[in-house]
Symmetry: D3
Subunit: 315 residues, 6 copies
């Protein structure tokens, strides 16, 4: 496949024909005065622009949907001072034919180093049942591939490829730190840090953007993790039921409050600790994401953060 | 075993020795001026009274705990106008040796009729997967015995033996009614009505009183039901994953709001309907329990209902 | 009057002159570069479109207001791919000159059958005072005409012509069902179901759309019903004051919580029951309205329901 | 009737027989070791003490209830350092036979001066309809007697005899002040100040203590005032419906927020003003009551005010 | 400087060149098809309009920022029926070169009369420490100039030049009134009324619009006032620490509730009183501002007040 | 002074005369049947017991108050199986005459090591202004003595002698950890960690128990710290105002939410981080205190934690 041309580079190709891949975020078949046409919004991780398909619109419109990645052949034009694309040809791509990293932000951390850290934490666990449970889960190649790619959110913190792995390692690092500061059961807390959000592997559908899966909305990442971990524990000989109950509690209570959709309130010291570790990382990284983007612009204040009802000072 | 003498009958035995069974709700080994003695609170479903063990207290105190049912031999006395028991001998009973109905309130409905209704609802389901799932669960004798005995709550509505069965049949009856009124998927809604609270079988420990089990507190009846139903569905050939997801959603969302510890918000019409059926029965029966007890006293107003911040008018 | 041409049919009349009636939802007299013109939004129950009055705008603008229904003579044109109306002549219609059903959604239930059901419920009441009260209210022709036409809301559930009657019958049916399930005073509960929302007859002004009346906003349907019912009861010989007080309580408390603008908290068993009957019907039908509209489009998820903070799954 | 002896004076009569009147706040018929006896709590506005009826208890217990005022003949004794009354004879008194001011706190303001102020405000109203409405209400002797005696609350602010009149005059004075500061309709606001709480005349039953009446709990003072005022307005020729609507709105909205059981939100400038006048007086006087009582003790901090979650500094 | 031409007057100058001063509320340097141009929004207190700089855009764009007032030379044109300005020359003005009253609303009260009232209240204080503290603060010319110009808010009530002085005098007048009604320490309450919002002098930056200053957002007007008053008190010989503590409490607690960003809850009678005085004035004037603007239009209802979740009736 | 005898040791001295020091937590002068007597509750960190002064009560009662530490000479007796003290002589002690550690719990950490850690963190700060500010504050001997002794709370977490120092070091350690994990300004965050709670030095009065000081209640530890730090910064040459503003923000915003009495919302990355560090330590240690006390008893569940609405599992 030819080198991808990013949205932000298109103005260099004004009035020329290009071939590139874009995510379709909007698709409208409209009736014009003479004929039907398709109005598109095409995007990649550097931005988005309008596109129009003037010929054969009805037939072409059948070939793809919003959310698909398409290969486009078209001419870059300028209309009312705005860059647009007059599209002549469209080929729909399968997910495996395109590089997600072209369309979505990804962690700027090194995935391999994050994986190494994760497995080192697993390796450092003394309780054999817990270590076997973690290895059973994370040595499953198919699962791990999905896990390492998954975002930790659709919006707010870590909402990018690899965000789940990054967040998991970061929370586990905080748990490790806390196990030195406070009289907690270190093995249990580290296990909780590693497992608390694994349900997010199933909660999102990551094609060229992040969407909730149907089961993600109807069941949610907390019961999904609860069930996944229980099933894996059931495959281990004599896994102590008391220990499994404590791990389930860590997962079910990690959101901390019912108002924040926690399935339980934290009722063990480790569940309290895990909740604070998770919250610290999520909130801090959320604010870092907001403020770093703005700092590049030289602004004094961030845009208004509706979720938290405030502006952030950037100087 | 001799005929049980209830707490409310003891005054007829003043200054006589009796033998009867009581639940120990309080046990205090205290140091008196001369020797140790045990201060007890003994209870059955008709009331409670104090008891004292004056002789051999240290040894006897080892034999039983709060929450146990004991057979007591002792003398009924009157102290400062209050009936008490001077206890001379104590035998700890195993749960299976005593009749729970002596110690706890039970539903005044006919258990067999409730069971018949339940199975009739199961029988009326058209979808074979759903019917098989329900039969797999409810034809398990051991499970059904626990289910038919379980309360639906520790306090508030249906907090008595058989309360869970009574509440389940009542909610299912409302679901049946709703399926005539509204364009819902009847099979799904009936299934949801039947299954929504089965986690409560595991949430409470019913000995001679109702207590939360450890797993009841740490995992809770909603994830417990979610998992129990998922495991049973896994034993059925080709159980459709879409259908299982919808049932799980019914269970996970039936509390309706995060603030009320719901694991999900109702996102299907059936989940909305089930939440209202459950809420209607729970709240209405809760108020019936409060007001009926008071009406016997001829009072005009109930006692203050702290949970709901009001009095009830009884005339 | 000629056959109404609906908004959704206008494209068939492109570039032709038509005569039809529309509701004016927006009216702007604007100063153009040469002369004043009027920019309109015209609507009926099938949709809306822009219209322009280019000639004699200042004079014509005096003749009607937003909220009026007007008869329009004009040419259907296409401007930037969008259908518009170039309006040449306008006649303002009196409410009684136009058919509300052209402009607003109406219940798809049969009004006569709903009325029959309502009167059958009244007929089944044993308490003569209650029956006489209900007949006094509902046999008043003028009142009943308004009642049978009224919506039950401006937005959310039953927000269409006949919605109040439909909702009233549905809530009363639930009350009837509950009176079999629970030890309630059936006559009282049925009366409450029938009367609880009658204040809405005065709360809305239904012209060609639904608006709050001034008294609807300043006094509200709950005190309006409280007063209407009290006045009617005062016309009945020896109507028991205790009974009136209970009915007033049913009306005043039916919203259930102060936060939801209830004037009282439910403090009788019947008031608790009525609140749940009302809430069940309102919420369930609200979700049915949202999901049925979407299901026609073949969507998987509904649009976001801001009021309830969720999407609904449509499959 | 002989001079009343107050609870706080009883210690001067130790071991002597006295005759005096007390409010019965608790009455328990108990079975003693030999015979039945009655355990009483007797109170007046200076305090309370225990009393016992040892002879003929079963018969005497039939003669009065909690909430009654009784004339007692008995001996003042000291038991475990505490003053008690051994009661030998009891006569139940009718409300009109006793002086409420012996049993309940009363305003320390002069009732006649408060009444004068109230009627001066009525006199100063220019709008004849409003003036006539107010005179119709307040020149009704029976109503005014009840009004001038009524408390404004059961607990919190102005919870004493005459409290409603005192609060009404105070709120009206604030309204008068506001009508100079702000561009409000003075006649309307003064009328609102005078009428806003008149429903409290019916909300409480004032015998020898303050209790909610049944209609006070089931209908509440806001709808009671709404209806009372509407009925009185209906007796006035041509009372403008727009004006009545505005007065009703003032009454219905004066609590300001739904959470505080307001039937409407304030939607006119006068309703906003009235709410603030009412709130200012209620809260300020509430705190004055708490702090003045404590200041007599020389304490630095008041007791904890649970309702408002704070202590008050008294220096 | 030539006479200012206001935005609402520009249509009289259609197709003519004008010179006037405007506030820049938006500035966008855009790349056109041929060259860069600047897209502006220009405003004064009578409205706003778009402006375009077509020539030398890159250089001119360096000379000023959003929030600046500029002197503009340009031609008034009409584009798509809308008035615009084609800007030919721009001179940035220093704040002291322009009259803020051209760009912002100002109080319609007489500033001198308000000042007189304020100083009369100060003069009427008996406690010499309090009087000296107030004089130390308000006789500082630089401070007073800023104080008399400051708004009391960015949006909602008193959000105009002089609004802080107007609000301060109004709240102090209410405090004066309350000191007659209630047994408060008048000197203290008057002092609290005068000082409670002085932190707003530092909270806003008033150039040609109202913006929060950085310290206004990060520290806030309450701690700013707390510190300013404490520093001034420290310059007075032997200022009693108990008295300073009470003043600080008045400032820190005047928002009344933590949810409304109060630093303390009111714990003295004067703090309770001040909170109600402040709230009464802020809320009443807020509604007056909303309703007066609308009443000029002859509307029946105000626009929706999102902050308070209601419409206001204007008749 | 003789060796202190603790409350828990008194039973060994039954019927003997002892001399020891106790905190008076309750003092009641009561009128007995013959004479006045004083009823006391006497306490130290091991428990409390009743005491009685039978002779010369009126005179002795003048000599001390609740909250004082007194030296007591008296006889240990047993009354109704309970240990009491018959007090014969009382000497009131000045705070400096008694060892607080006898009456209150204290941190089990080594104070000197905590101090070393604190000064090492100060030493590691690169910004000279911040380092000088911290040294100015913490090298003040009188301040440091109070700081090292102060508790961090009256109830909940770290409510013991030295708790403030322990909590400060712990929060600073978390800040140090976070400065490695996240792109924060380390010097600023460490300074925030050290200073955030120093207002608590003035918020509590620590005599032989922990009480809020008057200024602690009326001004609170957040404005107290804000002012203390500002005053100290003012003594440093050219302390940058921008830097001071950021430190003030850290202090004012560290409670995180208005509902939790924060004076500001965190609006810088460091303020967000500090809030989470503070919260993590406070909540985790709060739960550790609850659970550790219970674990000694061998209980399965802690007592109910009302503040957080839950039990904790102790196994």
């Amino acid at each position: 496949m030819a080198q991808k041309i990013y949205v932000e580079e298109l103005k260099k190709h004004l009035n020329k024909e290009i071939i590139s891949e874009f995510l379709v975020t909007q698709k409208d078949l409209r009736e014009g005065t003479k004929d039907f046409y398709i109005r598109l919004t095409l995007a990649d991780k550097t931005g988005s622009l309008p596109g129009n398909v003037w010929n054969n619109a009805k037939v072409i419109a059948e070939k793809f949907n919003e959310g698909d990645v398409i290969q486009v052949k078209g001419v870059v034009i300028s209309y009312k001072t705005q860059i647009q694309l007059t599209v002549n040809k469209i080929i729909r791509l399968e997910p495996e034919e395109c590089d997600l990293a072209d369309f979505m932000e990804a962690t700027d951390k090194d995935i391999n180093k994050l994986s190494d850290k994760l497995f080192k934490y697993i390796d450092g666990i003394n309780n054999n049942y817990l270590k076997e449970l973690l290895l059973t889960i994370f040595e499953d190649k198919e699962f791990y591939t999905a896990f390492a790619k998954a975002p930790a959110a659709k919006s707010w913190h870590h909402n990018y490829l690899g965000g789940l792995l990054e967040h998991t390692v970061s929370v586990t690092t905080i748990c490790d730190f806390m196990s030195v500061q406070y009289p907690v059961d270190r093995d249990l807390l580290i296990t909780g840090g590693i497992l608390h959000d694994i349900g997010k592997v199933f909660e999102y559908e990551v094609k060229a953007n992040i969407e909730f899966s149907v089961i993600g909305r109807l069941v949610g990442h907390i019961p999904l993790a609860d069930q996944y971990v229980s099933q894996k524990a059931a495959t281990i000989n004599n896994f102590p039921s008391e220990l499994l109950m404590k791990i389930r509690h860590l997962i079910l209570a990690h959101h901390g409050e019912y108002e924040k959709a926690s399935a339980r309130l934290p009722q063990t010291l480790e569940a309290v600790a895990l909740h604070h570790a998770d919250n610290m990382d999520a909130q801090t990284v959320g604010v870092i994401q907001i403020t770093q983007k703005m700092q590049k612009d030289g602004a004094v204040w961030s845009e208004f953060d509706r979720l938290n009802n405030r502006y952030y000072y950037l100087k």
